[in-house]
């Protein structure tokens, strides 16, 4: 492996989302929220979700992390906005499959496919999954919850 594989990891879409993360903001009227942190590397983020009935009306995040974790969180917010809880769950499952080398359904994954390169860098899988675990935890509680990848 050399430079070419690094480009698989640091794809243009990922670099773009790292530089200009989407939905990177506080959400005053969020009804679901969770804190996630990776104690090994110090990455820390907050995921905000505003559920309207069964639909994710808005989702945003704040925090700091590496390019992979920021891009993954940013892509996640784009992918989940407007989805139902069941649809979000399906996407979450597909992300999990993608990260662990399972069979993936490209139609469900959509743009999130760019994160597939992380699989080849096992030390970095946690970076890509932190925001997803945090989102999952946010959905399950409306109080402040701690999520860790450890």
């Amino acid at each position: 492996m050399s430079g070419a594989d690094l480009r698989d990891l640091y794809q243009q879409v990922i670099m773009d989302h790292n530089k200009k993360p989407r939905n990177f903001r506080d959400m005053a009227d969020a009804n679901h929220l969770a804190h996630g942190n990776n104690p090994l590397c110090g990455d820390a983020l907050v995921v905000y979700v505003k559920l309207n009935g069964d639909v994710i009306e808005d989702v945003s995040f704040q925090g700091s992390g590496c390019a992979i974790s920021v891009a993954s969180a940013s892509l996640m917010t784009e992918a989940l906005k407007g989805k139902t809880v069941a649809e979000a769950d399906a996407i979450y499952q597909q992300m999990h499959e993608q990260m662990t080398g399972g069979e993936v359904d490209m139609a469900t994954l959509g743009k999130l496919e760019v994160l597939g390169g992380v699989r080849e860098f096992p030390a970095r899988v946690k970076c890509a999954t932190l925001s997803w675990h945090t989102m999952h935890s946010a959905m399950e509680s409306d109080a402040d919850g701690q999520v860790t990848t450890e």
Binding site: S2, G3, L6, C41, A44, S64, G65, C66, F121, R124
Partner: protein, 407 residues
Amino acid sequence: MSGLDIQAIRKDFPILDQEIYGFPLAYLDNAATSQKPVQVIDAVADYYREDNANVHRGVHRLSQRATDSYEGARSKVRDFLHAQSDKEIVFVRGATEAINLVAHSFVRPMLHAGDEILISHMEHHANIVPWQMLCDEVGATLVVIPMTDKGELDLTTFDDLLTSKTKIMAVGQVSNALGTINPVKMMTEKAHAKGIPVLIDGAQAVPHMPADVQDLDCDFYVFSGHKMFAPTGIGALYGKQALLEDMVPWQGGGDMILSVSFEKTLYNELPYKFEAGTPNISGAIGLGAAIDYMQSVGIAELAAYEHELLAYATAQVGGLDGLRIIGTAERKASVLSFMIDGVHPHDIGTIFDQQGVAIRTGHHCAQPVMQFFGIPATARASFAFYNTMDEVDALVGAIQKVQELFA
């Protein structure tokens, strides 16, 4: 240039001779752990192949040989630290265990609510958490010597921090995150002038410079073997004999006793009082071999060479645009911590790895240092005497690769 034959030295470290993703390995993560020379690997293997037996017990030949080797290693540590007596050298798992031992057996019995323990802002978590636990337990206060923007201890208020309530001062000789060499001898003198005992964490110092506990006059000195070319799981606590004599045991068990009945146990003499259970015999022997190795290279010589290496790295890396060195103390050893503008340290670590350059990225178990600089993590290159100027050039090349990718 120093007189060390680095290419000959590198032949003693077989692990260094390998390629990572088609690039020669540049191992620049020595502050995390060092590599081991064949002399250490062989000493451990030979012990298991020829002498393995329990120590201080059997009258049979193997047990005598194992005991001789184990106690021989203790003498080597005593010599290495310039301590007065073998009784002052306690084998432990590493610096972390040594600090916990002192916290438990020396400080805890005399610590009361309202007392203070003095540490510094640049300590490794191992020299923070044990004291914090103790303070929480008895209602004492952890007091912290502040730090400057250069990553040096700010000693302007130091005299005021040494109070009648201070029960111990525990400071690192060299910062693992910044490389700063702290003026521990002067600090020890000032603490002693007020009757305050001193523990020095030498974990990042012993691989890089001569250690002399009598010159420092510290009461306790701790280090880990694995950071100085010895196996993991072995380290040493030095303590002044009079203090160790009066201390309560750390763990109970075999080997730390003179006699046991259900009514009363008499504790063994120093240093065995603090070494309950079968010790890490092979580790101690490996540590002894590492000391032999360092002394054969020459500790003053390796220190001089590493100084050149760090100066070269600092000039080369410091000369790059879009990069900030974290920790610019006047006196430093081994460590070059840095940030690249717009790139998180973890991305740096991955890209470096793809060029065969092994560094540490993260908070280096020194989160208060990261908080001071307002950063989550740094990229840290740390050197040993087997590193070369070419490896510094590989480091510079890897940094340029990161900047290219993130341009």
